[in-house]
Amino acid sequence: MDEFNDSEIARLLRLKRYEQPPLGYFENFLHEFHRRQRDELLRQPLWRICLERAHNFMLQLNVRSLTSYPAAVTAVLLCAAIISLKIYQQPETARVALQSPPTISVPASAEGEWNLASPVATQILRTQPVRSFHESAQTHRAAPPRYVLDSVPVSYEPTFRF
């Protein structure tokens, strides 16, 4: 025979299974493992042990699968915020549009005194809607004084046309 063939090499290598560690090695291995683990644990600083424990705890909770929940909650909150902003902005603009043109109104107290003897119709330019007595009383106390302006210039010419 010139050289070992493949099957002979395989058989020779299989004989290496008979190389075994000293008797009792496998029985003592677990004790040695525990001893080394304890030693390593005692050598570690306290903060590292705490960090490791926390890390293990987080792994146990399976934090990776929970990461989608905060993302979903944030997205929902953002959507809600945007929608609510739009809802609140729409009536504001409508109110401004109603208030913007100056309204010409005559106070109720002045209506009774309206007659031909007083040629000049005193009209009050108001930019605010008419308020109730209580409301105006409250605002009069706190708000600065308001000035009444004539919207139509004073004229003594007769207004009749023929």
Binding site: E3, A10, R14, L15, K16, F26, F29
Partner: protein, 228 residues
């Protein structure tokens, strides 16, 4: 064709085909079903903090992993230290083990990777520290056949044969030695080795072929001079 004859014939063929289909379906189902990991229960218990379950895994896998690491390092002391580190690492990492592979494959991957890293650091400067050959080898059928047929094996004493074999193994590259150890010594199939090493089965086969050629060359010296 007479329909009264054709009908039973069709029925028979239908029955046959349905039977074949059912058998093929059951076979397909058996293949589709993932094989249950025998260590699954112990792994789950370890993951939930039961250290005793991990002890059982250590007891179960120590002899097998010892053989793997020892035959890659040819040094008992290095093997012992490495094995301790392997189990320590496995214990730390087991909470992250999701069962995509079996525990067997997973722990063997850790063992092989850690041993390969160790061998890279150790380099070529090392001494053989071999375990004793168990006396039961004298009763081994293959050993008896080898001593009967192969003259170098017959002429060399057992310790000489052991030394030559280990020297030949250590002349292989670390990756080739890993494949030879798993296939020839541990008796793992190619598919399992490819999973552990995360290479294709073709790569495993080619490494094995190349390693066998190299071993033939290295052992040729032993064949010519059985007693040095």
């Amino acid at each position: 064709m007479n329909p009264s004859v054709a009908l039973p014939a069709r029925r028979i063929s239908d029955l046959l085909s349905s039977g074949l289909e059912a058998r093929a379906k059951s076979k397909r189902n058996a293949m589709d079903q993932p094989r249950t990991d025998p260590d699954q229960e112990l792994v789950k218990r370890t993951q939930s903090g039961d250290a005793a379950a991990f002890d059982e895994l250590v007891i179960k896998y120590t002899p097998r992993l010892y053989g793997l690491v020892y035959n890659m390092t040819s040094n008992h002391e290095d093997t012992n230290d490495l094995l301790q580190d392997i189990f320590a690492k496995a214990y730390k990492a087991i909470r992250g083990f999701r069962g995509k592979s079996s525990f067997y494959t997973w722990i063997h991957s850790i063992a092989v990777n850690m041993t390969l890293n160790f061998l890279k650091k150790r380099g070529r400067r090392f001494q053989l520290s071999l375990d004793d050959v168990d006396a039961s080898i004298q009763n081994d059928k293959e050993f008896l056949e080898l001593t009967a047929t192969s003259s170098p094996v017959r002429e060399a004493d057992l310790s000489e044969l052991q030394r030559r074999l280990n020297e030949a193994m250590m002349k292989l590259s670390d990756e080739h030695r890993a494949v030879v150890t798993m296939f020839h010594i541990q008796g793992m199939p190619h598919a399992e080795i490819s999973k552990i090493l995360r290479v294709s089965e073709g790569t495993v086969r080619s490494r094995l072929f190349y390693a066998n050629r190299q071993l033939q060359n290295y052992l040729d010296e032993f064949r010519k001079n059985p007693v040095s």
